[in-house]
């Protein structure tokens, strides 16, 4: 501590180390709260269902998503990335996941929402397996903290079925 430069160095080093410790404890404090999210998806209409020239089937659907993700937000949450995926099984792949819609929730107030939309991204199958196919609509979310590790979770909603014929 004999010179000014020495003291500045010591202060900055200790300051940054203590800041890092605070961030670690802040990140660990997230585990104290238990989240309880809920979601519900309704398929309102299958707009069209066609086989493309390459042999792959494509479907367009309109759906309504009602979700409450407010309990996911803590003081250490920056934003929550949420997306809706259609999941189904084919003879070629044991799991197909097609993302239909996604969004970013920037704050707790926006975390309770009702979205009525057609699929943002195209729903194209690898082949032609979709006629009459049963599929799940799973809402996935990634919670991005201000400091710490990001974690992901999901709710699977089952019981949706594709139309039997092209339209």
């Amino acid at each position: 501590m004999h010179s000014l430069g020495f003291r500045v160095n010591a202060l900055l080093t200790l300051g940054v180390t203590v800041l890092a410790l605070m961030c670690v404890i802040a990140s660990l404090s997230d585990n104290l709260s238990v989240p309880s999210p809920s979601a519900n998806v309704q398929v309102l209409n299958f707009n069209w269902f066609q086989k493309q020239s390459e042999g792959n089937e494509e479907v367009s659907l309109t759906f309504k998503i009602a979700a409450d993700l407010q309990s996911m937000f803590t003081w250490n949450t920056k934003q929550v990335f949420v997306f809706l995926a259609a999941e189904y099984e084919t003879p070629k792949n044991s799991l197909n996941q097609v993302s239909l819609w996604d969004g970013i929730i920037p704050s707790k107030e926006h975390a309770k929402f009702l979205i009525h939309t057609t699929n943002k991204y195209r729903f194209v199958d690898q082949g032609s397996n979709l006629r009459g196919k049963e599929f799940n609509l799973t809402l996935h979310w990634h919670v991005m903290p201000k400091t710490g590790k990001m974690f992901a979770d999901k709710i699977a909603m089952t019981g949706y079925r594709m139309p039997k014929e092209y339209r």
């Binding site: 501590m1 003291r7 010591a10 200790l14 800041l19 605070m22 802040a26 404090s29």
Partner: protein, 93 residues
Amino acid sequence: MDWQGQKLAEQLMQILLLAFAVVAFATGYISGSFQMMVLIYAVGVVLTTLVTVPNWPFFNRHPLKWLDPSEAEKHPKPQEAVSAKKKPAKNMI
């Protein structure tokens, strides 16, 4: 700064930074605002810098008593002992 002052400066720095960290974390957690925590801690760092880094007079309350130059001249460093010690050290290398 003198020796006592340096020790005081180091202790003050550590205690102040830790205290501000605890207060900042508690305030941020209770108010649910991460920004509040970072702000209070930043204020704390600035305050600690102002208290411990400049050479304040209260860090110099036990000044060192250096020997008067005229007094030092009366007791010169012995020359013979220095040259005698150097030769054996060179042989060992």
